[in-house]
């Protein structure tokens, strides 16, 4: 029997279990560092001053910390997301013009639950319901670019101002990129079957929307989300923390400041070029970002890196190729990349 199946069926039962879980989580988070101190130094008797021991301590502590943060953030985001569906989003966007529509679409793109395998049905559904293609693209760009888990991790690691900058930059890129692409008359680069879809989709619109979910079901969906995402990201997390630890412990403190610091005009460019093929997720990128920030890499460069890691992915491009022709896919990638690079340079200019 899994935890998910053991959830109580009543509302008050769910409340009690949730309160206990919050307490256990907060306790584990607060005791994390002391627990590893006790285990490695007091119990096993390792020397805290040895470099390899302190690296091991960092690895265990940081892995636990990020795993706890991820669990909490994914669960909260997963439960909140049960309140908004993509079908509801489409209803909100239907009949909106470009401009206002792009702004709304970018905001909804952040909030709406959305797995990259749904990019194609979502695209078809939006366009079929009469949402302009540029507005639809704003939605599709914002969704991975402003990743809620990345927001949560940035907030807990660097503070709310950096998290807000990340959100603002991502929304701006999605709004502007969608608007620019919409202006380019991209209909000719969309596969014709998409544009023929409207009658069918309209007739069935709203089918399958689960309007009322019980609290148990929402909690269960949150837990399933945690299990699924953690199950997928743990290798990236371990590699990210290990690399972060190596940078933290062994790379001289002025190395990155000298090579990728604010005075290197190519710093942001290099970060984006490195970030795109590294496509993993925020969990793996964050420990790296944190270690690089400690070594003097400017925040604009790091945010650009974070965005390029989460935003542009080859698997999603291959999926989108079913509905978008190559010139539009190329334009999409180019506009988003240029946006990310511009944001990196802008933040570096503002923050230094």
């Amino acid at each position: 029997m899994t935890i998910v199946e053991r959830l109580p069926e009543t509302k008050s039962g769910i409340g009690v279990v949730s309160a206990a879980a919050v307490g256990a989580w907060a306790g584990a988070y607060a005791l994390n560092e002391r627990m590893w101190d006790w285990l490695l130094y007091d119990r096993i008797g390792l020397n805290p001053d040895a470099r390899s021991v302190s690296a091991l301590h960092f690895f265990l502590y940081d892995t636990t910390k990020i795993a706890l943060l991820l669990t909490g953030i994914i669960f909260v985001v997963g439960v909140l997301r049960t309140f908004i569906t993509i079908e509801r989003t489409r209803a909100l966007l239907g009949g909106k013009r470009e401009g206002v529509g792009n702004v709304m679409a970018a905001g909804l793109g952040v909030a709406t639950p959305f797995c990259s395998c749904s990019a194609v049905p979502a695209f078809i559904g939006f366009v079929g319901a009469g949402v302009p293609i540029g507005v639809t693209l704003s939605f599709l760009i914002a969704s991975p670019l402003v990743n809620e888990i990345a927001v949560g991790l940035l907030w807990t690691t660097f503070g709310w101002n950096i998290a807000l900058m990340y959100i603002g930059a991502g929304l701006t890129i999605a709004i502007v990129a969608g608007w620019v692409l919409g202006r380019m008359g991209v209909e000719r680069w969309v596969e014709p079957f998409v544009l023929k879809q409207n009658l069918l989709a309209a007739a069935n619109a709203g089918a399958g929307v689960e309007s009322r979910m019980s609290p148990q079901l929402r909690v269960r969906i949150g837990l399933q989300e945690v299990r699924e995402i953690l199950g997928k990201v743990w290798p990236y997390l371990l590699v990210g923390v290990a690399l972060g630890g190596i940078i933290h412990g062994w790379v001289p403190s002025n190395f990155f400041a000298a090579h990728a610091g604010p005075h290197n005009p190519f710093g942001v460019l290099v970060a984006v070029v490195l970030g795109v093929p590294l496509y993993s997720n925020a969990a793996g990128a964050l420990p790296l970002v944190q270690a690089l920030a400690d070594k003097g890499v400017p925040m604009g460069t790091l945010l650009a890196f974070m965005m390029s890691v989460v935003a542009l992915s080859l698997p999603e491009m291959i999926l989108l190729k079913r509905v978008l022709k190559v010139p539009l896919l190329g334009a999409y990638t180019a506009v988003v990349s240029v946006g990310i690079i511009a944001v990196g340079y802008l933040f570096n200019a503002i923050l230094t």
Binding site: P113, S118, I124, G125, A201, G208, V209, Q224
Partner: protein, 80 residues
């Protein structure tokens, strides 16, 4: 009974199909056929935009998430 799993073939759709088969076996239902709908135009015709989707006798029961086998069994039972 005709059960359809809508989805392009990503990991979620594969898991949903496995859960459906498990649910059918657990409930002892033998008169059901399970079909996969992978064509995007056909998926869109059901009016859903997030995959995977679970359709029982042409009624969309779930979209955009993977219910586990126990929940699928409940859904199928209530749809009969």
């Amino acid at each position: 009974m005709i059960i359809k799993v809508l989805g392009s073939g990503c990991a979620n759709c594969v898991r949903l199909e496995a859960n459906v088969k498990e649910a059918l076996a657990a409930s002892g239902i033998v008169d059901a056929t399970v079909e996969k709908v992978t064509d995007y135009a056909d998926i869109a015709a059901y009016g859903i935009m997030s995959t995977p989707g679970l359709v029982v006798d042409e009624r969309v029961l779930v979209s955009g998430r993977v219910p586990d086998a126990a929940e699928v069994a409940q859904l199928i039972a209530s749809a009969r």
